[in-house]
């Protein structure tokens, strides 16, 4: 086991897959010569050369569409978006082409593309650069979406994504890039669609994904220390496929659920999770399900207010106490 950062974990996943499969190609803006806008791809050009690590112009619709096309013929492109916010200029490719080609061809064509990059708020860059499109994208059958919260999951999920034969969109978080954690030295994957109980508890289930998991774990600690409550934290890791069983098993144990995400509330991932719980574990619930999400507005620029807009530890604790009341 080595202790490495989330950024290094992502890089290690790409390195290992580049070595394992010569069809893997990394593409994106500034990924090669500049070593990555966030240094996730640092050193890869040097190690693998310009055929495998490719700088693109600022043409997301073009190069992502190109990647989708190449994947149809068996290349395994791993495309970097500098921000998931920039996926919107390539929406047709990402949703209409990648998401539908297998279905519309009656299963004749596969699209094994990976698109990865940060999709998060909280960095003081304003509304055009702070989107969290996991719910929007996961609402399209044909597309898979994962949101790792730890270095271990970042590496394992990205490796699984690269080996997967469907389009997989990996949403990272710039605020987590420097977080450190234990990652095995040997080859492993985290299968898509398997949630992880990040903290075991008995009184309340918090379901979260992405950085909201980290926030929830901190809140769980406070709830334990200051309120004597035992909280279980379920990290979805994967949005679609969704691990319904792990969510339901936890709720059947604690009988109370709080759902935390950094998305805006309307049609967020947790709207789906809430429906799941009430439809399959309604009788198990001792209290209504509560949610904590971002304040419903485009991302505000002012840093002090953006910190309020996103779910923070205090808000999670407050809402948890309501579910427990």
């Amino acid at each position: 086991m080595a202790v490495i950062s989330y950024r290094e974990a992502l890089r290690a996943a790409m390195r290992e897959e580049l070595k394992r499969d010569d069809k893997v190609v990394i593409m994106g803006e500034e990924v090669a010569q500049f070593n990555g806008a966030y240094k996730v791809t640092e050193g890869l050009l040097k190690e693998f050369g310009p055929k495998r690590i490719v700088d693109t112009p600022i043409s997301e619709a073009g190069f992502i569409g190109l990647g989708i096309g190449a994947s149809m013929l068996g290349i395994r492109p791993v495309m970097e978006l500098m921000f998931w916010s920039f996926s919107y200029v390539a929406f047709d490719q990402i949703v209409n082409n990648a998401g539908n080609i297998r279905y519309m061809s009656g299963g004749l064509i596969n699209c094994p593309i990976v698109i990865r990059g940060p999709g998060n708020g909280g960095t003081n860059v304003g509304a055009t650069h702070s989107h969290t499109p996991e719910a929007i994208l996961a609402s399209h059958p044909g597309i898979k979406v994962v949101c790792p919260a730890t270095p271990y999951d970042a590496k394992g999920l990205l490796k699984a994504a690269i080996r997967d034969n469907d389009p997989v969109y990996v949403m990272e978080n710039t605020i987590l890039y420097n977080d450190k954690g234990e990652v095995p030295d040997e080859d492993y994957i985290v299968p898509l669609g398997v949630a992880d109980v990040k903290r075991v508890g008995t009184d309340l289930t918090i379901v979260a994904h992405g950085r909201a998991v980290i926030t929830s774990l901190k809140a769980a600690e406070i709830l334990e220390q200051e309120h004597g409550v035992s909280v279980e934290v379920v990290d979805l890791r994967s949005i679609r496929p969704l691990d319904e069983e792990t969510i339901l098993a936890s709720v059947r144990k604690t009988h109370r659920a709080l759902l935390v995400e950094e998305n805006k509330p309307f049609c967020g991932v947790d709207a789906q999770v809430a429906y799941l719980i009430q439809s399959k574990a309604f009788d198990e619930l001792d209290a209504p399900i509560h949610r904590v999400s971002s304040i419903d507005a485009p991302q505000i620029y002012c840093k002090r207010m953006e910190d309020q807009q996103l779910p923070d530890v205090n808000r999670v604790v407050r809402e948890a106490l309501k579910v427990l009341a």
Binding site: E29, Q33, S59, V89, I295, I300, K303
Partner: protein, 368 residues
């Protein structure tokens, strides 16, 4: 990559910097002494504002992205100094210079950077998202190339309303590869819209040199030919040349309602944004060369000293005043209040902010 046989660059760029051959161009000859001093003052104000921003960023009071305009001042100054009542403009995220040129105050600009409610966008937009529609300035756009169709639409509206006007759409040399830009080019030409696409070619898009990002037939502006549009290349270190050549495009827009692509060769002195350490993709010598030999603010100062419009004393005074103004703006930005949590959900919908007889919808629109 196939390299074009002949590079189509402005003639004046190939010669050593010296007196501007465009000083006697009618649009420049027509300037009064006071107008020339005002133009120089505006360029100096942009320079000092941006340099003040660096310090505030380094003090940790500005977060996120901060893209500086230092080195590119003559582009905004030259083009915007020609605009009239029905001429509009829109740009990308490197938007402070354009803001100051249209007459936005340093206070509101600085306060926006520190996220204050006294900022031009009430702390909601930030560095990349300045707006002053009352001054025909439509932003400040964070998504590369996203402003190109918008600006084309502004030109469409100007034409629709029968005004003799235009829209200047600024973008970088990297932005020319966004699909939206090409769609806008086609619409502008197909529908004879009074739009001027201004490509501010500073040589790099982030860490990618222009040669590594773009296939072109000699220069970026020449791509206009594929859309049957007029084009020109301009030395962006000479504000007189910028004015002289932009005036021709403006005339084309005003009188024939036809679009133009102008490629203005310029240079940025600092990293792409303050987050860019600027250590790997270009030579320190290259930056030095531009700073020392082609600086647009210095060049115009020299020009005006030669013309005896400026004296060294007056120039010093102008620069000192601009610095003092920037210092004051920094204090204003420091002392201004933040927006409140309640402000977060304001300005999302016109409807929500204007509940009354004119509202046409019901139901929940902001969710818990």
């Amino acid at each position: 990559m196939a390299k074009p046989a002949v590079l189509t660059h402005p003639e004046s760029l190939k010669r050593p910097a010296g007196p501007s051959e465009y000083a006697k161009d009618p649009v420049n000859a027509a300037l009064t002494k006071a107008e020339k001093i005002a133009l120089y003052t505006k360029m100096a104000r942009i320079r000092h504002f941006e340099q003040r921003c660096i310090r505030i960023y380094q003090q940790g009071k500005i977060g996120g992205f901060l893209h500086l305009y230092v080195g590119q001042e003559a582009v905004a100054a030259g083009t915007i100094s020609l605009l009239g009542k029905h001429d509009h403009l829109i740009t990308g995220y490197r938007d402070h210079g354009h803001g100051l040129m249209v007459g936005m105050g340093m206070n509101e600009c600085m306060a926006e950077l520190t996220g204050r409610v006294t900022g031009c966008s009430q702390g909601k937009g930030g560095s990349m998202h300045y707006f002053a529609p009352d001054k025909n300035y439509w932003g400040g756009h964070g998504i590369v190339g996203g402003q190109a169709p918008l600006g084309t639409g502004l030109a469409y509206a100007v034409k629709y309303m029968g005004q003799k006007g235009s829209c200047l759409v600024y973008m970088g040399d990297g932005a020319v590869n966004q699909g939206a830009v090409h769609e806008a080019y086609n619409l502008a030409s197909l529908w004879d819209l009074p739009v001027i696409f201004v490509v501010e070619n500073n040589g790099y898009s982030m860490g990618t040199s222009q040669e590594r990002s773009t296939a072109h037939p000699g220069c970026l502006a020449k791509r206009a030919e594929g859309y049957n549009m007029a084009w020109d290349v301009i030395n962006g270190h000479d504000v007189y040349e910028v004015r002289a050549k932009t005036a021709i495009a403006l005339k084309r827009a005003h009188e024939e309602s036809k679009p133009t692509v102008l490629e203005i060769f310029t240079y940025r002195y600092f990293g792409h944004s303050m987050a860019d350490p600027d250590k790997t993709y270009r030579d320190k010598e290259e930056i030095k060369e531009y700073r020392e030999k082609k600086d647009p603010v210095l060049a115009f100062e020299q020009e005006l000293l030669r013309e005896k419009v400026l004296t060294p004393e007056l120039s010093l005074k102008i620069n000192e005043e601009a610095m003092a103004e920037a210092d004051k703006a920094a204090i204003f930005a420091d002392e201004s209040p933040d927006p409140t949590v309640a402000d977060i959900t304001k300005h999302i919908y016109w409807e929500e902010d204007n509940r009354g007889p004119k509202t046409t919808s019901r139901g929940t629109i902001i969710f818990e």
